[in-house]
Structures are given as C-alpha cells and as structure tokens.
C-alpha cells in the first residue's frame, strides 16, 4: 500500500495547497495539513508540490486486527419500518460475534427514525449508532456514505454486514472502496475464524459455482447478504439501559449532487418474470370457476397466478400468464404446479425455478421428474386443506 506523507515545514501557502487536491482530500487542522479518507492516491499533489507531499510505499498491506472490534449490521428501512433482512443479519451477527467475543452494533441512518432502535435491541443488537438528519430522508449516496465513513472512523469495527437490497448494494461498495477494503457480494454462508477473518461463501456464474472468499489483510471486512438467507432470532428482552449513540456529521458532508424530484410507491403488479413465487394451474383444473381456488392460494402466498397453454387457449386467463416455450420464461424462488403434466414445452419455461412443488394425481406425470417435492393427490382435496392451514397460521400470528 502507498500513502501520502506531508512535510509540514515546507507548507507556506495553505490556500494553494488545500486546493490542489481534485478530491478534497486535504484538510487544515490548526497549523497542519492532513489527508483524509477521500484521498485516491492520484498524486496530483506530489507532482504540484513535490517539497510538501511525498508518496511512500509501504510493503504489502498489514492490519492490526486487534484494533478493529465489533460486528456491525447496517439497518435497512423505508423510513418507517425496519426491513426484516436486518433482523436476519442480526441473528447471524450474534453467532459470528460470539466466536471472537466482539459486540454487535447496528448502524441506523435516516430521518426521524424514532423508536426503530427498540426492535433492534430485541433482535440482538448490543449498541445502536444513530445518524438522524433531514438530509437522510431520501437515499442519496453522498450523505449516506459520509455517515457510514464517520461511523467506521469513530468505531473501527471488524466486520460489516449489509442487506443485499438495492440500497445496500449501492452503498456497501461505495464505502468499501472509500476504505480500500474487500466486499464479498451475496454471501450465502458466513463463519468467523478466531483470527477475526470472516469465511464468506457465495455463488457466482449464475449459481453454477461457489466461491470461498476471505479479506485477510484489510479491515473492516464487508459482506452483503440477500433477504431470506439467514434466520431471525427469537425476540429477547431489550436491555434496561439500551446503549444508543446519536451522532451527527459536518453539514458540508450532507450535500449531494443528486436531487430527488419524486419518490412514489411502486405499483404492486409484478410481471411473472419478476415474481418470487408463482402458482400454476394446468388442465387438472376442470372448470374456469375452479381457478378461483388456485387464485386464493396464490393470494395467501403473495404469489402470481400462471397457467399452461391449454387454459389460455380455452380463454380462461390472459395470454401474458402463460408459462412455457411459447409463453414466459420464469425463474421464481418457488413454483407450485397444480394439475400440470409437465410437457417439454412447459418445462422449458420454468425449469430454472429455485424450488418446484408439483401436485398431480398421476404419479407418472413427467412434472415429477423435475419436482423437488412431488405430491401425488387430488388438487381439489389438497388445496382447500392447505388454504385453511395457512389462514389459521396467519390468524395465530396476529
């Protein structure tokens, strides 16, 4: 690694020298000039003022791992509620922190975050660090990254977990780059070494290979994890004296070259291709009216309804709802087929699905060749039973 050192004794004109850096990485502190984390080692300064600035090469990066303590979870929220991926990461953070006896921290950035910290303590946080400012109302990269940077500089955490949402996947790389450290994307397995190195496992090449990745010589080490990979812990009693630390940062750092003109709710209608869960009705459904039963199941599972081609030809559903060679190609996390035989043409449109569950009366139906769970039985008997169970489950939760 390289770094810039400053020969303060050769500084004669602060103004000129501070302005030389295109990244505003030079600051004046009293009678000294300092380099901050914005330094990109672009070396404009060493060229313009060779007397003042010197680039020194430091052999191979090394890091004093003992100086970096704590497992951090970035709190993802929409301004009102905490996104559940946060709780899942808190559950994992507790396990990781236990191995090395580190505390679990939450970093919460937002506008009027109110009592959000309460739920974080219940789900495993030891301490919560809050940056609450109007500038954080909309997600804009510069202020958010500035708060994150401030937090890392204050706390020196060892490991940082960020939910793999749109915001997390925009923010984590920005901050990781600022600290010139490693970030592993979309981890599906995390384990802590006693050395505080995090073992990170992630799929790549569209899930065709797994990679085991470490960040051995840099801190903090960053990982993103998608929603629904890890498990939330049971809620526990929050501590009597919860440790909430409120921080604020320099107003200049809250500025952004991005102007948010509008934020509007996303229309709920999803295209089949985007759906996480799909329920498919095939010719095992005998009448158009019976589709309602399948649709009820879809609603309970927050799923989209699709069909095979014969049902489209019969005019029972919109052609956009057809899956297969001459219809849509889908790759949901879960697909449940009801009364679908599993023709080659149908399978061509859905065999990349994460989990395939098939309900069919014929145990020789080809759909069972690709199903992860094949249920041999009559959909007219099974689906109503299942619907009741899910409804009971929902009522119990309320």
């Amino acid at each position: 690694m390289s770094r810039i050192i400053i020969h303060q004794e050769h500084v004669d004109n602060f103004q000129d020298i501070l302005q030389v850096c295109p990244f505003n990485a030079l600051e004046r502190k009293g009678d000294e000039i300092r380099v901050n984390a914005a330094c990109k080692l672009c070396k404009v300064c060493t060229k313009k003022f060779p007397d003042v600035f010197e680039l020194v090469l430091v052999e191979g990066p090394t890091v004093d791992k003992k100086a970096w303590r704590g497992v951090v979870v970035w709190v993802e929220h929409d301004g009102k509620v905490v996104h559940p991926v946060t709780y899942e990461l808190l559950g994992k953070a507790r396990d990781l922190a236990a191995v090395i006896d580190h505390p679990v921290y939450c970093l919460l950035v937002g506008c009027n975050v109110g009592n959000m910290p309460d739920s974080l303590f219940k789900k495993g946080a030891d301490e919560v660090f809050v940056y609450d400012d109007h500038a954080f109302k909309d997600f804009r990269i510069e202020p958010y990254a500035a708060a994150f940077e401030h937090f890392i500089n204050e706390i020196h955490p060892s490991t940082i977990l960020v939910g793999g949402t749109t915001i997390g996947r925009s923010l984590a790389p920005r901050v990781a780059a600022r600290f010139r450290t490693g970030l592993t994307a979309d981890c599906t397995k995390l384990e802590m070494q006693p050395s505080t190195d995090l073992d990170q496992i992630r799929p790549a090449f569209g899930g065709n290979i797994m990679a085991h990745i470490r960040t051995p010589n840099h801190r903090p080490q960053f990982a993103t994890v998608r929603y629904k990979i890890f498990n939330e812990r049971e809620a526990c009693d929050p501590p009597n004296h919860p440790k909430i630390h409120c921080h604020s940062i320099d107003k200049n750092k809250l500025k952004s070259a991005i102007k948010v003109l509008e934020t509007r709710e996303k229309p709920k209608v999803k295209s089949l291709e985007e759906a996480d869960t799909i329920i498919v009705a095939g010719r095992g459904v005998k009448k158009k009216e019976d589709l309602e039963m399948v649709e009820d199941l879809a609603k309970l599972l927050d799923a989209e309804l699709a069909t095979t081609r014969p049902l489209i030809e019969a005019g029972w559903a919109d052609p956009l709802a057809q899956i297969g060679l001459s219809g849509r190609t889908v790759k949901p996390e879960l697909i449940i087929t009801c009364g679908v035989s599993g023709s080659v043409q149908f399978r061509a449109g859905m065999n990349g699905s994460g989990c395939i569950i098939a309900i069919n009366t014929d145990e020789n139906a080809p759909i069972f060749d690709i199903a992860h769970l094949g249920v041999v039985g009559d959909l007219y008997e099974i689906i109503p039973c299942l619907i009741d169970m899910i409804k009971n489950h929902v009522n119990e939760k309320c």
Binding site: E76, I141, E363, L373
Partner: protein, 266 residues
C-alpha cells in the same frame, strides 16, 4: 460553443456460457466456451446510444480484460459506439472488484473530460454488481444504481428513474456522474453489418499499467485486491427429490411445513 457530452460505457467480456468447469486443482476453466459481451452491458451501450442520438454525445466504450476482449469493443463499434479503449496488462490479472474498479477509473481519468459513465447492472460471471459504485467512489462523482428509465438529459444533467426496494425514485444527477442501468431499460439494437465494414480498420486504443495516471503496481491485479478467493467448487445440489403419497390432510400438512420451512409464509 459548449462541447457535446462525453459518455463512457463500461463493458466486460464474459464466458459464452455460465456452465463452467472446474479442474482438479479447483481452478476455473473459462476457455471452454467462446467468450461474449456481458449481456447486461448491451443495455448500457443501448442507453448511451439513445443519449447520443438525442444530444449528440460522443460515446467511448472501455473494457478491462485480456487482449482478445478487443472483440467486444468491435461489437460495440458495430452498434454505433464512437471509440473503444482496452485496458490490458498482465499485472491486472487476478483483480477483485476493488482492483477492477481502480483500474477502470484510472482509464476513465485518462480519457477526461467526461460527463457520464454508464455500467451494466451486473456481469454473468463474477456477478457482484459492485464495480459501478466502487468506480464512482474512485472518480469522486455521485452515482445511482438500478436505473430503469431515462426521463431527460441535458448538457449538464440527467434525470432518471431508480428502482428502489419499495419505491420508484426520480432523481436528477449533475454531470459528471455514474449510473448503472437495469436490464430492459431499452431494447438493445443488433450490430449492423454496414457498420462492421465501416469500422473494420478502426483502431482500438490500448492502455497498459504504465499509461495510467497511477503507476503503482500494488494497486492493481492480485496485489491490489483485498478479497482473496480461497477456493471455488461446484454447488452441492442438495435439492432432495421427494415424492409423497397419502391422504389429503397429510399431504396438505406436508406442503404446509415445506412452505413454512422455506420461509414462504408471511
């Protein structure tokens, strides 16, 4: 007269298929299938060409890769891109996201002035979707990811629709800035045979480490990469195939527990 905007589009060559093989030592055999342009980057190119048609921008495509990655720059020419830059050097090998983003941003700095950098959503091989945001940090410019539509653009700024988890954000970014675009933002055009002939002799600009503003080898390739891949291996296909029989009540219960276990119940 103000100069017309300069757009830089980042494209990557990826294996022709994601059906990769792993040799006995656990290394990836990537040469098995002919390489191609990362399909997500076609949308980045298309976006830059639409802007070019609108406001007369100049479009430069840049890629970091082995010498044969020149092929995807030629493909970009055939779609209508004006200039092509290949960053290639043996010392770039083994780059993770940080080193990749550093290298490309150094390349972009040497092409300055520029106004807008456009990246694809992700690649089909490394598949991290991180290079864009890290590059924006190194360039010291604002960025937004997941852009699903361009609403307007001028000599100074661009207004886009961003796909956030629960909302659509309409944001205006001042140049210079970086955006990563979603698949399907526009339908990418096909390479044209006429342009293929017209650009046959067009030179691709080749840059190696010594041509970049930062010539410190430690910032590139394996040396400049904080993440270390310990091992790659094929995923365990732990998809148990199970066929269950029984009375409807039992079957429904089995289904219920499967859905609960896989977290498909709210």
């Amino acid at each position: 007269m103000p100069r017309s905007p300069h757009i830089i589009t980042c494209i990557k060559q990826v294996p022709g298929s994601t059906e990769v093989e792993i040799d006995d030592n656990g290394s990836l055999i990537r040469n098995a299938v002919a390489a191609k342009m990362n399909p997500f980057d076609l949308f980045a190119i298309e976006t830059s060409l639409r802007l070019k048609e609108q406001n007369g921008a100049t479009v430069t495509a840049i890629t970091m890769g082995p010498p044969r990655a020149e092929l995807i720059l030629r493909e970009a020419f055939m779609m209508g891109v004006d200039e092509g830059v290949l960053l290639t050097d043996r010392r770039f090998a083994g780059s993770d996201v940080l080193a990749t983003a550093w290298t490309i941003s150094q390349g972009i700095l040497s092409l300055a002035p520029y106004d807008l950098v456009i990246c694809g959503r992700q690649t089909t091989d490394g598949d991290t979707a991180q290079v864009g945001a890290e590059m924006a940090e190194f360039l010291g410019i604002p960025h937004v990811t997941n852009v699903r539509a361009i609403l307007s653009s001028s000599d100074e700024s661009i207004t886009v629709e961003v796909d956030l988890p629960g909302a659509i954000q309409v944001a205006c970014l001042h140049f210079p800035c970086l955006i990563t675009v979603e698949k399907d933002i526009f339908q990418p055009r096909l390479p044209s045979f006429r342009r293929k002939l017209a650009t046959r002799d067009k030179q691709v600009k080749v840059l190696c480490l010594d041509d970049l503003p930062d010539t410190d080898e430690k910032h590139y390739g394996l040396l400049g990469s904080p993440t270390k891949v310990q091992r790659v291996y094929p995923p365990r296909r732990d998809v148990t195939k199970e066929i269950v029989h029984g009375d409807p009540q039992t079957l429904a219960e089995r289904l219920f527990h499967e859905l609960e276990g896989r977290k498909f119940l709210q």
